[in-house]
């Protein structure tokens, strides 16, 4: 496959068949009463990997982390860490630290005592603890709050204390359950990069739950998209975005246009799809045979919108009217309504300050996209 996105990563142990995964979930299920929170899930995570779990609320992300940390026992399946089965090993003997979604800060201890708690437990010398605590306070920018109690902090500050406390021990595996959700955008971005640096410098393995796609994209080596206790796709951010394996993943990450149709012809990897009101000619059709029902997924920014009709109305073009425009500064979102009522979402980068022929509401508009701009999905 041609490289996707613009980033070439040198770190890709998952592509190396000889590499041994560090954390393995083997057909793990977790059932609460009659509710299956995690459903026959298998996952391999490599040493030094920054792994993100992305999924809707209630899909079992926290449960997965809690099983790895030792607070829930898998109903079925097993979890291996560095080749060792974790079953029966209590949380306090696992080389894993977790940042709780609810923070779980000790209310009777000051910020610094909270951060130092795990280190004291380890029996680290006092001077070293003090040094580490200062370092952690700097990481989360809470130097001025060291003596405060958790109830004297804001929500975002508490979240940072929880983060610092879990990072302080520098465990081999760090599980972060929504580590940055309560922070404002600027602080979140700064902390993201600092977390990435920390992970790089110390060679830790991170498993991070997040609701924020951008955050998952920014930080992680690979992302797992979860739905109803199952993993839908595990891949690099670029692959997830450019080559989703299902409509669910395509729709979950970013925004997407899905054209439904049937495969009319196939030649090698190329395919022609007859959709309603649009014929799609693509060079990366999946292995769907002729006659199969498929969906063609195209991201908004891959679609060109023009005020003038193309010379030939070939495949991958359609005519419609401008339905909605949103100017975002760096780009403009233009929604184009096709004659059958479907709305195609596009986003146009504002490369020029002055636009010759700006589009406006109810203008005729033609959309077009290149042969390789989308993917064919069969489910």
């Amino acid at each position: 496959m041609k490289p996707l996105g613009s980033i070439r990563r040198s770190f890709a142990p998952w592509a190396d068949p000889a590499a041994k995964p560090y954390i393995v979930f083997e057909n793990v299920s977790k059932v609460f009463g009659d509710f299956t929170a995690v459903d026959d899930l298998s996952l391999s995570i490599y040493e030094r990997e920054f792994f993100a779990l992305l999924g809707a609320s209630g899909c079992g992300k926290s449960t997965l982390l809690r099983m790895l940390a030792g607070f829930e026992t898998p109903t079925r399946g097993r979890i291996l860490l560095d080749g060792q089965d974790l079953v029966g090993i209590p949380p306090y003997r696992r080389p894993v630290n977790m940042m709780f979604q609810s923070y779980a800060l000790f209310p009777h201890m000051s910020v610094e005592d909270n951060i130092a708690f795990g280190l004291k437990q380890e029996g680290m010398p006092k001077a070293e603890i003090a040094k580490r605590v200062t370092e952690m306070l700097r990481l989360v920018k809470l130097e001025a709050f060291a003596k405060r109690k958790p109830h004297q902090l804001s929500g975002g500050q508490r979240q940072r204390v929880a983060l610092a406390r879990s990072v302080a021990k520098r465990p081999k595996v760090l599980l972060l359950d929504e580590p940055l959700g309560a922070l404002d955008k600027k602080l979140r971005e700064e902390t993201q990069f600092e977390l990435m640096d920390l992970q790089q410098d110390l060679g830790l393995t991170f498993m991070v739950v997040t609701h924020d796609q951008e955050e998952a994209m920014t930080m992680s080596d690979r992302i797992a998209i979860m739905d109803k206790g199952k993993v839908c796709q595990v891949a690099t951010p670029a692959e997830i975005y450019e080559a989703p394996n299902s409509r669910f993943v395509a729709d979950f990450v970013g925004s997407v246009n899905l054209f439904e149709g049937t495969v009319a012809r196939r030649e090698g990897s190329a395919a022609v799809i007859e959709g309603e009101g649009i014929t799609i000619d693509t060079d990366n059709g999946s292995d769907a045979p002729a006659g199969a029902k498929v969906w063609y997924a195209v991201r908004p920014e891959k679609i060109k919108v023009s005020a003038r009709a193309p010379e030939v109305m070939g495949p991958n073009t359609a005519e419609g009217e401008v339905w909605d425009i949103a100017y975002l500064g760096d780009m403009t979102l233009i929604h184009v309504r096709l004659p059958d009522g479907r709305v195609v979402r596009t986003s146009q980068l504002n490369r020029q300050r002055v636009v010759e022929e700006p589009l406006t509401w109810n203008d005729r508009a033609w959309i077009s996209f290149a042969r390789d701009s989308g993917v064919v999905l069969t489910r």
Binding site: F71, P90, N97, F100, F106, P107, F117
Partner: protein, 323 residues
């Protein structure tokens, strides 16, 4: 234009004036609401307390009531003043002269303290178990703790006589399983008093402990274990410190009434036990010395003011921290 603006400014001011009228009534009503408990305290605590203080400053007399002076409406202000000048601290001096009283106070405080510790030792595991029990079971367990209150306190203490006496249930059991060849002497000893106090005051210990343990977030224990604590270490570093407000509340709720306890030492402790409650009782009923027994009561209250104030401060702090 400017005039309009000025008017616009004035309008809300006159508006607030009207609101103030309503606010006045509201303020009076809210004061009244606060006044109710104060009035209650005044009527049923402060007034009786001053009567006791007054009696403690009087002299015994063979009369009804058995002390002088007695204030009557017919005396008039000058008569009242003459009465006030009769007041003396003789009864308090008397308390310092007989070692009996001092010993009774000290014994009472020691017995109450030991009982409080014992109640805590028994009550903590009960409260902990209740707080950890499945949600559906907790109301039943709470009910079981409160259930003894449905029977008269006196009857329950009497029942202990039947259990503890030499030929009582406990000794029969111990003898029949062959643990002892002689019946144990428990009744009429301090042990019996401890048993009685621990039994009677257990709910006062368990309930506040349960309240503080129950609201504790289990993820704190998980976090402690995650950071390397064994379950035991997590208990001592997290659970116990966080339940301290409950421990303090429970301990004081047991300690304060236990110091002045009369029924339990009287029924279970036998004649030789020296607790201030019994001393007070015998001064009052056996000796008919109301002034001295009132002085005993006032001193007892003064001894207990310190822990009561500490209790209130601890409650306020717990509320502060709980916010």
């Amino acid at each position: 234009m400017a005039v309009e603006a000025a008017e616009a400014k004035i309008a809300p001011v006159s508006g607030t004036g009207k609101v103030d009228g309503g606010g006045f009534i509201q303020a009076v009503t809210s004061r009244l609401v606060i006044a109710v408990p104060y009035f209650w305290l005044l009527l049923f605590f402060l007034v009786p307390f001053f009567i006791v203080v007054k009696i403690s400053l009087s002299q015994t007399a063979i009369a009804i009531p058995p002390y002088t002076p007695v204030f009557t409406a017919s005396d008039g202000p000058s008569g009242w003043w003459a009465n006030v000048r009769e007041f003396s601290f003789d009864n308090y001096l008397w308390l310092t002269q007989d070692a009996l009283y001092f010993n009774a106070y000290v014994t009472s405080v020691i017995i109450a303290a030991i009982s409080t510790v014992l109640t805590l030792l028994v009550g903590y595991p009960i409260a902990y178990g209740m707080a950890r029990a499945p949600q559906s079971l907790r109301p039943v367990l709470l009910m079981l703790v409160i259930l003894p209150f449905w029977t008269s306190f006196l009857i329950r203490v009497y029942a202990w006589i039947g259990i503890l006496k030499p030929e009582g249930l406990l000794n029969q059991l111990l003898l029949s399983i062959g643990l002892f060849s002689q019946p144990l002497v428990i009744l009429n000893t301090y042990t019996a008093i401890f048993i009685g106090i621990v039994y009677s005051y257990l709910p006062f210990m368990v309930l506040p402990l349960y309240a503080s343990l129950e609201k504790m977030d289990n993820s704190l224990i998980e976090a402690a274990q995650d950071l390397g604590c064994t379950p035991t270490a997590a208990f001592w570093k997290i659970t116990f410190p966080l339940s301290l407000p409950g421990v303090v509340a429970g301990a004081l709720l047991v300690f304060i009434p236990a110091v002045g306890e009369f029924v339990i030492p009287d029924l279970l402790g036998g004649s030789q036990t020296l607790m201030i409650g019994r001393t007070l009782w015998s001064e009052f009923f056996a000796n008919r010395d109301w002034p001295v027994s009132s002085a005993v009561a006032v001193i007892l209250l003064i001894i207990l003011v310190a822990p009561i104030m500490y209790f209130q401060r601890a409650q306020a702090q717990a509320q502060e921290a709980g916010r």
